[in-house]
C-alpha cells in the first residue's frame, strides 16, 4: 500500500508539474492539492481496472452545491457546461483545475468570459431576451397578488436589456456585456450566482491547500 502511494505521489507530482505550466494562478503544490482533492471526490474506482475518467454531472452538481453554495438548478447545468470544455459530459482532472482557476482566482476578464459563457446557454455568442427570461423567470416570489410576476420579469428584462445592449441590436454580445460590467461590477453575475462568494472560496482554499499541505 505504501509503495502504491509512493508511486502515486510521484505520478501526481509530475502531472502537477505539467498542468501548473498550462493553467494560470496555481503553483505546482497547489495543483498537487487540487489533484488530490479531485481524486478524493472521484472516490475509489467503481470497478477495478476501469478507473473513472472524471466527475459526471450529478456528482459535479453536488460539489457545487456543497462547496460553493451555488444552488440554482438551471445554472448548475450551465456551470457544468462551462467546466466541461470538450463537451463529453464529464469534467476531467484538467478541466477541473482550469475551471477552479477562474472560480477561485480569476481576474475580472476571465470571470467575465466565464459568466458570459454560462449565461449564453445556446452558445450563439449572445445573451438574448429569451435567455434572460429563462434566468429571471422565477425571480419574483412575493409580489402582491394583483400583480403578475411574469409582467414584472418582462419589465426587468427590458430594463436590463436596455442598459446592457450598447449596440442596440436587441441582444447582448460579449462586448456589450464587458462594457456594462466594467461600468458596474454588479452586472458580472447579473442573471444568477455562478461564482462562489469570498467566504466559500476562503473555506475551500483553507481546506484544500493548507490542511492537505500539513499532511
Amino acid at each position: 500500500m505504501s509503495e502504491m502511494s509512493a508511486m502515486n505521489r510521484k505520478v501526481i507530482r509530475s502531472l502537477a508539474e505539467t498542468i501548473s505550466k498550462q493553467v494560470e494562478h496555481f503553483d505546482q503544490t497547489e495543483v498537487e492539492c487540487l489533484i488530490r482533492e479531485f481524486n478524493m471526490l472521484l472516490g475509489p474506482p467503481s470497478s477495478p481496472g476501469r478507473a473513472a475518467q472524471g466527475l459526471d454531472r450529478i456528482s459535479f452538481r453536488s460539489i457545487l452545491h456543497r462547496m460553493f453554495d451555488i444552488t440554482d438548478d438551471l445554472l448548475m447545468d450551465e456551470v457544468f457546461r462551462a467546466f466541461d470544455k470538450d463537451n463529453d459530459d464529464i469534467v476531467s482532472m484538467k478541466e477541473w483545475i482550469e475551471g477552479l482557476s477562474v472560480f477561485l482566482r480569476g481576474t475580472l476578464d476571465e470571470k467575465m468570459k466565464y459568466c458570459f459563457h454560462v449565461y449564453d446557454s445556446n452558445g450563439d455568442g449572445f445573451i438574448s431576451r429569451e435567455e434572460m427570461w429563462r434566468w429571471l423567470k422565477d425571480g419574483f416570489v412575493r409580489l402582491p397578488p394583483e400583480e403578475d410576476p411574469d409582467e414584472a420579469v418582462k419589465d426587468l428584462v427590458e430594463i436590463t436589456l436596455k442598459k446592457m445592449d450598447h449596440d442596440h441590436d436587441g441582444k447582448v454580445s460579449f462586448k456589450d456585456f464587458e462594457k456594462t460590467v466594467r461600468e458596474e461590477n454588479l452586472y458580472l453575475e447579473a442573471f444568477g450566482t455562478c461564482l462562489p462568494d469570498s467566504m466559500s472560496i476562503e473555506a475551500f482554499e483553507q481546506r484544500v491547500f493548507q490542511e492537505q499541505m500539513k499532511q
Binding site: D138, G139, F140, R142, L156, T160, A190
Partner: protein, 1061 residues
C-alpha cells in the same frame, strides 16, 4: 420690534419695575440690529421718519446739553429741537437725565450724536419703553394690527385706511414688522451656527402624544400643551436666548395620576424644569430631573398609569420614538388630501407677503436693497435667495394679486431650487473632484455645528405622483421587496441609473419608505445586494435629511456593522456612506457609541506608497481612503478626535500622509487638522514626525490640500517644538508664498493662521522678516473676510513684540487699517486688534498716529464689549496707549464716561479683566487730576474689595494700582479705613516675585500713615519685609526697608512720647 423683543431678548428678572436687558451676546446683536435700523431709517424713508409718534419715547440718557449741536435750542442743561410738530411742540426735548423723542428722524439724529454710546442709548430706550410699537403708533392702531394675524395682512390695513396720515402710519408699521422679521431670522441664523436643534422629532412625538390625550376611556394623559403657540421658522417654540442652550419647546403635561409636569424638550433630551407655565417667563429654566431620551420615557417614569397604558395603545410604545415610520405612512397616504394643500396655502401666503413687501417698497420710492457688507457678499448662501426674491417682477397691484398667486407659484419653486442648487454648487466648488468629500466646508474655524444648520423639514410639494420618477421608483421598490437575490441585485442596478443626486429622487425614496428597504437589505447575507444597497445609500445620503432618517431609524448601526465584514468593497462603501451621514452631531456620536471609530481606524492599515501595487493592495488603499473620509466627517466632534487618537489612528494617518495622491492626502490632512484642535493629538502629530510631511505638502499644487496643511500647521504651531520644526523644514518660506493666493480666502485664512502661530517664536519672526512678510501682512489688513483678518492681525501682534517691527508696521501704513478694525464686531478679531494696537502703541511715532485717528477712544469703548476677552485685551492695550500718549491726562479726561467705565469693570468676575483694569488704573493714576477723579468715583473701596484674591497675576497688578492710588490727598488713610492693609500683608506669602515687589511698593506707600503702620505691625509684617530686604532685587530692598523704616520711626516716636511723660 414686538416679536424680537418678547421672543428674543433676554431680560433680567424684573425685581424692580423695569427689567434690564442682560449683557448677552444675543442681546448685543439684537441691539446692534435695532440701532442699524434706526440709523438708516431717516435716510431710507425720509417721509415716514417725519411721522410724529403718538407718545414720546422717553428714557434716561447719558447725553448732556453740550452734546447737541446745531438744530437745537440749548438753554442751560435743557435742549429742544428746532423741528416741531404741527402744534409747535419740539420733537426732541432734553431735560437731563430724561430725554423725550417723538420721531424717527430725531431718533436717528440722537444716535448719531451719541456716537460711542449709541448702544447704551438704544439699550436704555428699550429698557424703559418695553412696548415701543404702541408708543410709536398708538395703542389702538397697534392692537388692531396685532389682531390681524401678525403673519398676514398689514397691507390690507394700509389699504383700508384712506387717511394719508394713517397711511404713513401703516407703512411705518410695515417697516417695523419687516425689521422685526429680519432681526429674528438673523438671530436664528446665528443660533443655528452654534447649536443644532431638531424640532421635527420633538414635534412628532408631541403630536402623537396629543392623540393619546383625546379619547375618553383609553386616554393615558389628561392634557398636553405647548407653553407657546408661536413657532419660529426653525420649528422651535422657546425664546431665542434659550434656543442657544439647545431647548426646543416647553410642555405642560397633566398625567392622569400625578401632578402636572413642566417639561423642557431640548436637543440633549427631555427633562423637568422649574415650572414654565407660559411663554415669556424669566426664570424657571433650570433642570430639576434626570435627562430622558424622549418624552415617553420621561412620562413612563413619572406616571405609572401612563407606563401601564401606553403599551396597550395601538401604537406600541417602542414604536413611538421612531416617528419616522408613521411619517412615511402619512405622507404616502395623505398625498391627495391634506398634505399638498397645506403646502399650497403656505406658498400662497409667501407670495402674498412678497408681493406686499414689494408693493410697499415701490411706494416708498426705490428698492430697499439688502445692504450687505462686502465681506459677506462672497457667501452665495446668504445672498442668492434674497436676490431671487427681490428681482421677481413686481406687478402686484390689488386686483392682480390673486392671479399672481397662481402664476408665480411654479416660478418661485423653480427659483428656490435654482438658488439652493447654486448654494450647493458654491459649496462644492471648493472640493476637487478627486476629494469628493461630502459636504465638506472645513477651514480651521470649522466647528461642530457648522454643517448642522437646521434645515426645515423638506417635503415634496404638489403632485409628486405626477412625476415620472415617482412611479418608476415605486415600481422598483416593489420589485426589491418581492425579488430573489438575482432580481434584487438587478433592480438595485436599475435604481443606480436614476439620478440619485437629485433632491426629488432622494425625497421620493424617503417618502416611499425606501430607506427602510435599503437598510434591511444590509441584513441579508447576499453580498451583491448589500453592495447594491450601499451604492445607493452612499449617493442619497448626500441629502442631510436622508442622513438624519438613517440615523434616527438605527440604520447607522447596520452600516457600521458592515465594517467588520471581510469583503473590501463592502467596507469601502460602508465607510463612504458613513462619511456622508456623519455630518451632524448625533450621527457622529452614534458612530462613536457603536465603536465605529475603532473599526474605521482599522481600515487605515495599508501601505500607500509602494511603487507598484497589486490589485489587492490597491483595494486596501481604496478601503483606507474611504475610511479616512469617514473619520474626517467624524473628527468634527471633540470626543471623536480623542477616540481616533486612542484607537491609534494618528500614526496610521501619518503613514497615509506618505501617499502621493491628492485624493488620499486631502482627507488625511483634513482629519489631522481637525484632530489638531486637541492637544494630545497635536503632540502625537508632532512626535510621529508628521510636520515634515505637512510642510512638504504645502508645496502641492492642489489648493485644497495646501489649505488643510496650512490649517493643520496653524493648529499644531501652538506647540513651541512644532514651530521650530516648521522652520527647520523650510515651511515658513512656503507659508509666505501662499500669501500670494489672495483669491482663495479659505487658503489665505489658513496660511495667515499658520503664520500667526509660527510667529510666536521670535526666531521665526526673524526668518519671516527675510521675506518682508510684515509689508505683505499690512497689505492684507483691508478688504479681507474676518477669518483672514483675525489671523493677519494676530500675526502683526506677535511681530510687534520686536521693537524694530513696530516702526516698520507704522512706516508701511499699518496703523490706520488697524485702528479702523477697532470698530468691528467679531470678538476674536477685536481681541487680536487690541493686542496689536497695544503692541504698536509702545512706539512713540505710532502712538501719535493712533491718537490722531482717535484710536484710544475706540479701544476704550471696547471695554463695553460683552466679551471678557475683549474687555481685558482692550484694557491691556490701553496701558501703553496712556503711557505713551501726548497729554495723556488730558486725553483720558476728554473721554466722557471713560473713567466710570473703568471702575465699573472692577466689578467683573473675570480675573484677567480685573488684572488688566488694575494695570490700566496704574497708568491712569499717574495723572494727579485723573487720580482725583477716580478717587471721587470710589476707586479705593473697589480695589480693596479685590484684595481677597489668590490669583498672583491679579495681586501683582492690584498692589501696583494701590501703590499709585495712594498718591493723592488722604488716600493712604482711606485705604487703611476700608481695610486694605491686612489683606495686602498676606500677599507677601505669595511665591511670585512680581507680587512681592508691587506689594512692598504698596505697603511702603501705605506706611506713611501711622494708623496703617499699627495694622501692619499687628499683622506681623516686619518679618517678611526683613526677608525681602535681603533680596537681590534692589528695588524690592528699597521699598521693603523704607516700609520698615516707617514702622520703626513710629515706634521710636511712641517710645519718645512715652518717655517724655
Amino acid at each position: 420690534m414686538g416679536l424680537s423683543l418678547t421672543k428674543a431678548a433676554q431680560w433680567t428678572t424684573a425685581s424692580s419695575g423695569t427689567g434690564k436687558l442682560e449683557f448677552t451676546p444675543m442681546n448685543e446683536s439684537l441691539l446692534k440690529e435695532i440701532l442699524r435700523f434706526v440709523e438708516r431709517f431717516s435716510s431710507q424713508h425720509p417721509q415716514e421718519a417725519e411721522h410724529v409718534f403718538e407718545e414720546p419715547l422717553q428714557w434716561r440718557t447719558t447725553l448732556v446739553a453740550s452734546d447737541f449741536k446745531t438744530d437745537y435750542d440749548i438753554s442751560d442743561s435743557a435742549v429742544q429741537s428746532h423741528e416741531k410738530d404741527s402744534e409747535g411742540l419740539p420733537l426732541l426735548q432734553l431735560s437731563p437725565p430724561a430725554v423725550y423723542v417723538r420721531s424717527f428722524s430725531q431718533l436717528s439724529k440722537l444716535v448719531h450724536l451719541a456716537d460711542g454710546k449709541k448702544l447704551e442709548e438704544v439699550r436704555a430706550c428699550l429698557e424703559e419703553n418695553r412696548d415701543p410699537v404702541v408708543k410709536i403708533l398708538g395703542r389702538s392702531f397697534a392692537t388692531t394690527l396685532e389682531r390681524e394675524d401678525a403673519q398676514t395682512d398689514a397691507l390690507s390695513v394700509v389699504d383700508k385706511v384712506k387717511d394719508p396720515a394713517k397711511e404713513v402710519k401703516g407703512k411705518l408699521f410695515l417697516f417695523l414688522q419687516k425689521m422685526d422679521k429680519q432681526i429674528l431670522s438673523k438671530l436664528l441664523e446665528e443660533i443655528s451656527e452654534k447649536v443644532s436643534l431638531d424640532p421635527a422629532a420633538a414635534k412628532n412625538e408631541v403630536e402623537l402624544l396629543k392623540q393619546l390625550c383625546s379619547d375618553g376611556e383609553k386616554r393615558v394623559l389628561k392634557s398636553l400643551r405647548y407653553t407657546s403657540e408661536f413657532e419660529f421658522s426653525n420649528g422651535c417654540r422657546t425664546p431665542l436666548w434659550r434656543q442657544v442652550h439647545g431647548e426646543i419647546c416647553y410642555l405642560v403635561i397633566e398625567p392622569c395620576d400625578a401632578e402636572t409636569l413642566y417639561i423642557t424638550y431640548s436637543t440633549a433630551g427631555v427633562f423637568l424644569n422649574e415650572g414654565i407655565k407660559q411663554e415669556g417667563e424669566e426664570s424657571g429654566y433650570e433642570r430639576t430631573s434626570d435627562v430622558y431620551a424622549d418624552l415617553v420615557t420621561l412620562l413612563k417614569s413619572r406616571s405609572p398609569h401612563f407606563a401601564k397604558n401606553i403599551n396597550k395603545q395601538d401604537f406600541a410604545a417602542q414604536e413611538l420614538p421612531s416617528t419616522h415610520k408613521i411619517q412615511h405612512v402619512e405622507s404616502v397616504d395623505g398625498e391627495e388630501q391634506g398634505q399638498p394643500q397645506r403646502s399650497y396655502e403656505q406658498q400662497e401666503k409667501n407670495v402674498h407677503e412678497k408681493a406686499k413687501q414689494q408693493h410697499t417698497v415701490n411706494k416708498a420710492g426705490g428698492r430697499n436693497k439688502n445692504e450687505m457688507c462686502p465681506r459677506w457678499s462672497s457667501f452665495a448662501l446668504l445672498s442668492t435667495f434674497g436676490k431671487a426674491e427681490e428681482e421677481e417682477p413686481s406687478k402686484s397691484s390689488g386686483e392682480e394679486k390673486k392671479k399672481l398667486t397662481l402664476g408665480t407659484r411654479s416660478k418661485i419653486k423653480a427659483e428656490f431650487s435654482a438658488s439652493s442648487s447654486a448654494v450647493r454648487q458654491s459649496s462644492q466648488k471648493m472640493k476637487t473632484s478627486a476629494g469628493a468629500m461630502p459636504g465638506e466646508l472645513t477651514s480651521e474655524s470649522s466647528t461642530e455645528s457648522e454643517e448642522e444648520e437646521e434645515q426645515p423639514e423638506r417635503r415634496l410639494e404638489g403632485d409628486i405622483d405626477r412625476l415620472p420618477e415617482y412611479w418608476q421608483i415605486q415600481k422598483l421598490f416593489r420589485y426589491l421587496k418581492a425579488g430573489n437575490q438575482t432580481t434584487t441585485a438587478l433592480t438595485l442596478c436599475a435604481m443606480m441609473d436614476l439620478n440619485l443626486m437629485q433632491e426629488t429622487c432622494q425625497l421620493i425614496i424617503r417618502d416611499l419608505g425606501g430607506l427602510e428597504i435599503l437598510l434591511n437589505l444590509l441584513d441579508t447575507i447576499e453580498v451583491r445586494c448589500k453592495i447594491g444597497s450601499l451604492k445607493i445609500l452612499r449617493k442619497i445620503s448626500h441629502n442631510v435629511q436622508i442622513s438624519r432618517t438613517i440615523v434616527y431609524t438605527s440604520g447607522l448601526q447596520k452600516i457600521v456593522t458592515i465594517l467588520d465584514l471581510p469583503d473590501k468593497d463592502l467596507k469601502a462603501l460602508a465607510a463612504e456612506t458613513i462619511a456622508n451621514v456623519a455630518r451632524f452631531r448625533r450621527a457622529r456620536r452614534t458612530v462613536r457609541k457603536l465603536n465605529g471609530i475603532k473599526k474605521l481606524v482599522k481600515l487605515l492599515d495599508c501601505v500607500p506608497n509602494l511603487a507598484k501595487l497589486t490589485e489587492n493592495q490597491e483595494k486596501d488603499v481604496e478601503v483606507a481612503r474611504c475610511g479616512v473620509l469617514a473619520l474626517w466627517s467624524c473628527s468634527k466632534s471633540r470626543k471623536n478626535k480623542e477616540a481616533i487618537r486612542k484607537a491609534g489612528g494618528i500614526p496610521l494617518l501619518g503613514r497615509l500622509l506618505k501617499s502621493p495622491h491628492a485624493n488620499m492626502l486631502i482627507p488625511v490632512v483634513g482629519t489631522l487638522q481637525e484632530c489638531a484642535s486637541e492637544e494630545s493629538c497635536r503632540i502625537a502629530i508632532q512626535t510621529k514626525g508628521m510636520i515634515k510631511d505637512l510642510v512638504k505638502n504645502l508645496r502641492s499644487d492642489n489648493e485644497e490640500l495646501q489649505m488643510h496643511c496650512a490649517s493643520a500647521i496653524f493648529k499644531c504651531a501652538e506647540e513651541e517644538q512644532t514651530r521650530d520644526l516648521v522652520r527647520k523644514y523650510k515651511g515658513l518660506q512656503q507659508l509666505v508664498s501662499l500669501l500670494g493666493k489672495a483669491d482663495n480666502k479659505q487658503l489665505l485664512a489658513a496660511a495667515t493662521g499658520a503664520i500667526w502661530k509660527c510667529s510666536i517664536s521670535t526666531e521665526n519672526v526673524a526668518e519671516f522678516q527675510k521675506y518682508n512678510v510684515l509689508q505683505t501682512l499690512v497689505g492684507l489688513l483691508t478688504y479681507q473676510p474676518d477669518e483672514v483678518l483675525v489671523n493677519v492681525v494676530g500675526a502683526l501682534g506677535e511681530f510687534a513684540q520686536i521693537p524694530a517691527n513696530k516702526a516698520t508696521i507704522g512706516k508701511c501704513g499699518g496703523i490706520k487699517p488697524l485702528v479702523n478694525l477697532l470698530t468691528g464686531t467679531d470678538q476674536a478679531l477685536l481681541v487680536n486688534v487690541t493686542k496689536a494696537v497695544g503692541a504698536c502703541a509702545t512706539d512713540k511715532d505710532n502712538m501719535t498716529i493712533i491718537q490722531q485717528l482717535d484710536g484710544v477712544r475706540l479701544v476704550w469703548s471696547l471695554l463695553k464689549n460683552p466679551s471678557p476677552d475683549v474687555q481685558s485685551s482692550a484694557a491691556w492695550a490701553l496701558c501703553p496707549c496712556i503711557e505713551n500718549a501726548k497729554d495723556a491726562g488730558e486725553m483720558v479726561r476728554s473721554l466722557v464716561g471713560g473713567l466710570t467705565l473703568i471702575l465699573y469693570l472692577l466689578k467683573s468676575t473675570n480675573n484677567e479683566v480685573l488684572a488688566s483694569i488694575c494695570a490700566a488704573i496704574t497708568k491712569i493714576a499717574r495723572d494727579e487730576d485723573n487720580l482725583a477723579v477716580i478717587t471721587d468715583l470710589g476707586v479705593i473701596p473697589l480695589l480693596t474689595k479685590l484684595t481677597d484674591t489668590t490669583d498672583d497675576r491679579l495681586r501683582h497688578h492690584l498692589a501696583e494700582a494701590i501703590h499709585y492710588c495712594c498718591m493723592w490727598g488722604s488716600n493712604r488713610e482711606s485705604f487703611g479705613k476700608v481695610g486694605a492693609v491686612a489683606p495686602l500683608v498676606r500677599f507677601l506669602k505669595s511665591k511670585d516675585a512680581a507680587v512681592h515687589l508691587s506689594t512692598a511698593k504698596a505697603l511702603y506707600q501705605l506706611s506713611w500713615d501711622p494708623n496703617n503702620v499699627i495694622i501692619m505691625h499687628a499683622t506681623k509684617v516686619v518679618k517678611p519685609l526683613l526677608q525681602m530686604m535681603r533680596s537681590d532685587v534692589e528695588e524690592l530692598q528699597e521699598y521693603a526697608s523704607g516700609c520698615v523704616r516707617h514702622i520703626r520711626k513710629l515706634f521710636l516716636a511712641n517710645l519718645y512720647h512715652c518717655l517724655s511723660y
